[in-house]
Symmetry: C2
Subunit: 360 residues, 2 copies
């Protein structure tokens, strides 16, 4: 992979270091001694370990939560890959701003703030940006149709990633735990194309019904994406090339948010298939960034489980979600809180004066 | 099954009616119209429907949460079915009272109160009861060893169920959402015996390692339980007979708590395999009570998944937990809050002025 020379992306990548192995060990030592049958809180204890390693602390700070919902449009909707009209991307941005969408409700429940970012919506949202309702990082008015050529230029791909890094930096002072979110009609198509490329799988393996395609429309979507990959030939060794040829602006921004969080040594909750496509781009640029990612859930959307396995991540939840917006990640943030409670509030056998198991 | 004639159990059973089908339909109508791809929040939406039906409300009240941790001891530990000494039951009760156990930490995280109930601990906890640190409903100083005869008398079985009903009544004024919890060294053994009997499965199918048995000890546990079932011949058509012959006092109290919650038309979160054994007893006495149960998680303990399937319940979480105490249910209470947020705070297409899908 050719590393980009741009300043922000380069400095961000060089700031990402592996998580704290010593603190992980310290956490494990305490968790091993809790007054419960050994490791009886299962994956919650693994999560607690991860959080100690990520934050370099036995009291991981995850109180202030920010979910960044990255919005962008997709030229490939012209090929009929979605049931919803493209205008819905903009309408949903307004719905987020009005705090009436699913992500608003679920973020509120877990005490997270929602930040909406225009990474490349095909319409004018400048009045929302002027009034600070959204952050404008618009790269362009939607991507080009990657069924006919690259979705964006290499420069735009880098710009979209840097947009996400800048959002992470802007939120840094008010955020202990980041969450990714997405909005973009048609964006399961670039996600499938990215996953197929970076996980070396066929399009058919990783392409699902999105917002609700029937069999015929699904087959047409698969055929469109197969042709698009054959046309564009994205290079799987170069995440920026993959993003440029078959990606989306909001997917680049998600990758950037993840890289920015990792550079800050803070955990970042990954939502559904679109967010995980962004996570794969981030991982291709910085393998160490994967250690900062928490997989919130596994969606119904075919390809998400494959993408998570490819990242080496086991999702916390499996609730048949297929919405995006950051919703699955928001729900999973509750589990991050619970994991921290296990690490910080549960007594050991010795502290609690509880007898240890005998050998039988 | 012969219905008991005791007053409290009889009146409780007769107060349990099916949940509100009309409110379920009203909830579904709203959820169908939310400004998301249809049913894209998956099982969270099914949970939202359930909560509307249980509470007969489009604004389900689940704010005040109470987890009752039922404690009891088991004569069958004499047969070597657990790695932990029996004294740990009492030690853990003190740990709960000191608010230093896992259930305390996880209940705190979700804003639930913890109530500890002595349903039949083999030791003197009267000073904790006198100072109102625990509720004493002690049926006896632990069950008899059901490898050698019935665990308890039929009268004691009814007494333990009524203990749970009384706890539900005592907590009624401060509780919108109940949670079940258990503490009792050896209590996966009666749970497996109950599940095998009521779900018509072999002991080997439903018996696991409990707090951490090795292969040899697991085989011995299976053999012990097989002999115990052959000796006691519990009647699968009579839940009280099953509880009396191979159950436990805390399992009876859990069944009672569930019946009490259902009689109050309030949701009750079911924790792990011991709680689910209690739920099976409750279901055998009142099939309608199942509609008030929410399955919090599926544990590692073999037999739990079978018991949940037998109840017709899909668990919310699957996190390799195997602790009990109510911990898995506590974590899942966060998802109940999230489901209510979806029902009550998310705008419909019309409310949000978002375009609906076209047919393609």
């Amino acid at each position: 992979m050719t590393l980009p020379e741009q300043h922000l992306l380069t400095t961000t990548l060089s700031a990402i270091t592996p998580t704290n192995a010593k603190m992980r060990q310290t956490a494990r030592q305490r968790l091993d001694q809790l007054a419960i049958p050994h490791w009886a809180l299962g994956r919650m204890m693994n999560l607690a370990e991860d959080l100690a390693a990520i934050t370099s602390s036995m009291q991981p700070n995850i109180k202030r939560k920010s979910i960044a919902v990255m919005a962008g449009d997709h030229g490939i909707v012209a090929a009929g890959v979605s049931k919803f009209p493209q205008a819905v991307t903009m309408e949903m941005v307004r719905n987020f701003v009005n705090e009436a969408a699913s992500i608003n409700a679920l973020a509120r429940q877990v005490g997270a703030q929602v930040t909406v970012v225009d990474a490349g919506v095909a319409g004018d949202l400048s009045e929302l940006a002027k009034s600070d309702k959204i952050i404008s990082k618009k790269v362009a008015l939607g991507t080009a149709n990657f069924a006919e050529g690259p979705a964006m230029s290499r420069e735009q791909a880098i710009q979209s990633i840097e947009a996400g890094i800048e959002v992470a930096e802007q939120l840094a002072d008010s955020t202990d735990l980041f969450g990714t979110g997405d909005m973009g009609i048609g964006n399961t198509s670039p996600s499938s194309a990215i996953i197929a490329t970076l996980c070396d799988r066929s399009i058919a393996d990783v392409t699902g019904r999105g917002t609700g395609l029937d069999d015929e429309a699904l087959n047409a979507k698969v055929a469109t994406l197969e042709k698009a990959l054959a046309l564009n030939q994205p290079d799987p060794r170069d995440g920026i090339d993959v993003l440029a040829k078959v990606g989306g602006f909001e997917i680049g921004a998600i990758a950037g948010l993840i890289l920015g969080a990792a550079a800050q040594h803070k955990p970042v909750m990954i939502d559904g298939i679109i967010s995980t496509a962004g996570a794969l781009i981030a991982a291709s640029l910085s393998p160490a960034s994967v250690e900062y990612m928490i997989a919130g859930h596994c969606s119904v959307e075919q390809g998400h489980r494959i993408a998570l396995e490819c990242l080496g991540k086991q999702p916390l939840l499996d609730l048949d979600l297929r919405l995006g917006e950051g919703t699955g990640g928001a729900i999973a943030m509750n589990l991050v809180e619970a994991a921290v409670a296990i690490l910080t509030e549960v007594a050991t056998f010795e502290e609690a004066a509880v007898s240890q198991p005998k050998e039988i």
